[in-house]
């Protein structure tokens, strides 16, 4: 027997893809690295996932879980000839209104979950810009964020429990519906582990009540410094808005050409702020934001008059990447995070890097939590361009680390930033992370070559275990 034949016995012919074109499609995600998908399987149940894992192990084939493939760090591609397990057919939703939670399949699309729970007065708070396509499984694996994660936190805070298939093909449930489940917080470790610890087959997620009222403010500034000072000023006044999003002038222009959201294109920076809560509360907070913006020389200051205008502003923000994709043949979107007070300094240096390499750079980002998204637009047909883009990308990450920041705020490490991990962690730090991975998946069958750089596990660190210790 071959793995293909056994998988077809298990799943039927149609749920196992082997054709070159199909393999080509599943050989890449929304990042820039191409992998080698030998086989693509579409399980519908946890039991099927467990059988697939056991079969793949028998045939010594690495396993890569995949949701919608919108990941930007190459997380969902097999670096070695491998089996891609696509979870999109596992999309059940069981809502528990009394507890404001839902058990969802990993293949449920982020926005679909919020659409299903909206009539009940709830939504799933993490809202990546890709939310109309990306899956909850992918969100969990990447601990994804979004504009509204400023006040609500990233995905990890919205996942109470996980059902997971382990490297042995066993099914484990980590976490639970009650507060502070017993033992080590393995749920918290699996969230954000980018498919390296197991395949998530179900998740118990927390639903957030829809706010009774909301105010969305559009402000604009003739200097980026003023916009950044407004961000800090709002928080210093004790207001943590639901969202605080910034766009630079180039991005605003691109968005306006694409969707006409009503952003002023002559401003150096546009800042979108949103507050949610009881009407009295949001009016007071909106007034504080207006005051701070005015103090910092805002050139535009407008509260969205109705839901239609609010939706338009958000459409503008969430279309940013689409707008760039339309304007340039290629783009490379980065994700780094710096302490909020270092935003202006970092942006100045990031623009300098792009200018020095002769690359067009646009910025749209989650200003409230210092999460930058520098985006380089270019034409890869141009001679030497790719090398320049890569050099600039590395330099910009180095700058972010230098000012006290980190490699990624929400997109993850994947294959893309794996070697850069050494910029922020030393040998012992990486070894500890490798020990966690090894505890779950000693043979690295799940998503090998991701997150940790090669050689992270240093067997010469530490002491050998005691004789007779449980293994």
């Amino acid at each position: 027997m071959t793995l293909t034949a056994e998988l077809r016995d298990l799943l039927g012919h149609d749920r196992v893809l082997t054709e070159p074109l199909e393999r080509w499609v599943y050989g890449i995600d929304s990042g820039v690295v191409r992998g080698d998908a030998q086989l693509v399987a579409f399980p519908e149940t946890t039991a099927e996932v467990a059988s697939i894992v056991r079969l793949a192990r028998h045939y010594r084939m690495p396993i890569v879980a995949r949701g919608a493939g919108t990941g930007l760090a190459g997380g969902a591609i097999p670096t070695q000839p491998g089996l891609v397990v696509v979870l999109t057919k596992m999309n059940s939703v069981e809502i528990d209104l009394e507890n404001a939670t839902a058990w969802v399949g990993p293949g449920v699309i982020n926005l679909d979950l919020s659409k299903q729970t909206d009539p009940l007065g709830y939504h799933f708070a993490p809202d990546p810009s890709s939310q109309s396509a990306c899956t909850i499984g992918g969100n969990i694996a990447n601990n994804s964020g979004g504009p509204h994660c400023l006040a609500e936190g990233s995905t990890v805070g919205h996942v109470l429990a996980l059902e997971m298939v382990t490297a042995d093909g066993d099914v484990l449930v980590l976490g639970g519906p009650a507060p502070d489940p017993l033992g080590l917080d393995l749920r918290g470790v699996v969230v954000g582990s980018e498919g390296t610890l197991g395949i998530i087959t179900k998740a118990l997620v927390r639903l957030t009540p829809n706010p009774p009222d909301v105010r969305t403010l559009l402000t604009a500034f003739s200097r980026v410094e003023d916009a950044a000072a407004t961000v800090s000023g709002i928080i210093a006044r004790g207001v943590v808005p639901a969202a605080l999003e910034m766009m630079d002038q180039r991005m605003t222009e691109a968005v306006e050409r694409f969707v006409s959201a009503g952003f002023p294109t002559d401003a150096a920076a546009v800042l979108l702020a949103e507050v949610v809560g009881l009407s009295a509360a949001v009016d007071a907070e909106a007034a504080i934001i207006e005051e701070v913006a005015r103090e910092n020389n805002a050139t535009t200051l407008r509260v969205a008059a109705d839901e239609a205008e609010r939706a338009k502003l958000w459409l503008g923000r969430k279309s940013a990447f689409g707008a760039v994709a339309q304007a340039a043949p290629d783009y490379y979107l980065h994700d780094t995070v710096v302490p909020r007070t270092k935003l202006v300094e970092t942006m100045t240096r990031v623009y300098e890097i792009a200018d020095r390499h002769g690359i067009m750079m646009l910025n749209v980002f989650h200003a409230g939590d210092g999460n930058l998204h520098p985006l380089m637009a270019f034409d890869s047909a141009e001679e030497g361009m790719l090398a320049r883009v890569k050099a600039a990308a590395r330099e910009l990450v180095e700058v972010c680390v230098e000012v006290g920041g980190s490699l990624s705020g929400e997109h993850g490490i994947g294959i893309e930033k794996r070697e850069l991990m050494k910029l922020v962690f030393n040998e012992a730090d990486l070894d500890a992370q490798a020990r966690v991975r090894e505890s779950f998946d000693p043979d690295a069958v799940f998503n090998p070559d991701k997150v940790l750089p090669a050689g992270s596990r240093c067997f010469d660190l530490g002491r050998p275990p005691l004789e007779g210790m449980w293994v």
Binding site: N99, A100, G145, G153, S154, G157, T166, L172, V173, A178, P179, D180, P181, L182, G183, L184, D185, L186, G188, V189, V191, G192, S193, P209, A236, G238, V240, G277, L278, A280, A281, A284, E285, V337, P339, R340, T341, H366, D369, G370, G404, G405, S406, S408, G409, E410, M421, N426, A432, Q433, R435, V436, R437, S439, G462, R463, P465, M469, W470, V471
Partner: protein, 369 residues
């Protein structure tokens, strides 16, 4: 190989035994993270069971220990890096929660740690995975731990996470450390995410806490103690007034958080939030209780008695009944945690990779790990 006695004598930071701590052959209070590394390196070489001691306020959780060394974090008491504008603070483990919150409050900020912490230290609260009442609003402590420095059971210093409020760079060592009860390493330093302290604070007493919880839209906390329910409100003055109006009761200025329950025997009953009312009803009438509405935890205190039925019920709805204080005989008679979690062998594999000789608080975690 040096003898155990001379190894013990050579440990840095020797101090007198700590009141309340179990008897040990040596008590040390290292003044630096380097000293913690030295101590654990020696302890792992000589297989010296080591009990980590913060403020001693949460030592009632988990299995009882018989340590050779007590390692106090009292000497690790520095605020390392405070960035009020970035809403982060980095402190050593032995900083007292009360001192930290006082310092933060002077800058209009809070770490949303337990409100009546007593002698509790930041490291101890993180190690025990304890949250304050305000977790109803800001989430549990584990959601605010941004960076951790652990000294593992074999004396290696490991840093995980980073000092930024949003981060997905590598495996989440900070979350793994939260609630690890010292089993992976000594939590030597942490960076916490902060929140602005609401400019207006108010309290409303209500008859129906569940209704108030929904009406107030995200109060700081709703706490029911022995039949009386208080809703804690915070935000701008307009928000507090708006919340009180939505509840329909007059508001008193300020917060008066309930203190810890009295009593020598205390339990934490944890259930899905929707089962909280049933949980309160399941508790015997001669027990005192404090319940966190919307969260699902009821702390109860009462005579040392039979709790089998209550534990069975709690576990049947996906929760637990955890012993958090009691006389030694009770721990000898009853598993303080109850049924251990399903992923026990995985938990063991992780602990073993951080503490290969198993010297740190052995037996404290569920399942006797």
């Amino acid at each position: 190989m040096t003898s155990v006695r001379s190894a013990l004598d050579g440990l840095p930071g020797q101090v007198a035994p700590i009141a309340g701590a179990p008897e040990a052959d040596a008590t040390v209070a290292p003044a630096s993270i380097e000293d913690v590394e030295t101590i654990l390196d020696t302890a792992s070489e000589h297989h010296l069971r080591t009990l980590v001691w913060g403020g001693g306020t949460h030592q009632g959780y988990g299995g009882r220990l018989d340590p050779v060394v007590v390692l106090s974090t009292a000497g690790l008491d520095r605020i390392v890096d405070f960035q009020p504008e970035d809403l982060t603070v980095t402190v050593e483990a032995g900083v007292r929660v009360a001192d930290l919150e006082k310092h933060l409050a002077e800058h209009g900020l809070t770490a949303a740690l337990p409100e009546k912490p007593g002698e509790a230290t930041v490291g101890g609260v993180v190690a025990a995975g304890i949250s304050g009442w305000r977790r109803a609003r800001y989430g549990p402590t584990r959601e605010r731990l941004l960076e951790v420095i652990l000294v593992t059971g074999d004396g290696r210093r490991v840093r995980g996470g980073g000092r930024v409020v949003k981060n997905v760079t590598g495996f989440d060592i900070p979350r793994l450390a939260t609630g690890s009860f010292g089993s992976l390493g000594v939590i030597a330093q942490v960076c916490l995410k902060l929140w602005p302290l609401p400019s207006a604070q108010g309290t409303v007493t209500v008859a129906d806490g569940d209704r108030a919880l929904a009406a107030a839209y995200r109060p700081q906390a709703v706490v029911e103690c022995d039949g009386s329910t208080k809703v804690f409100l915070g935000g701008t003055p307009e928000e507090v007034e708006g919340q009180a109006a939505a509840i329909g009761s007059p508001v008193t200025e300020g917060w008066d958080w309930p203190g810890e329950l009295d009593g020598d025997v205390r339990w934490s009953l944890r259930v899905p939030p929707s089962k909280l009312r049933t949980a309160i009803n399941e508790v015997r009438a001669d027990y005192a209780y404090q319940a966190a509405l919307g969260v699902g935890e009821v702390v109860i205190s009462g005579p040392d008695g039979d709790v089998d039925a209550l534990r069975k019920w709690a576990e049947s709805v996906g929760g637990a009944l955890v012993l958090i204080a009691g006389p030694p005989e009770l721990y000898a008679r009853i598993d303080p945690w109850g049924t251990p979690p399903a992923a026990l062998s995985l938990q063991k594999r992780i602990v073993q990779r951080f503490d290969p000789v198993r010297i740190l608080n052995p037996g404290r975690l569920p399942g006797g790990i």
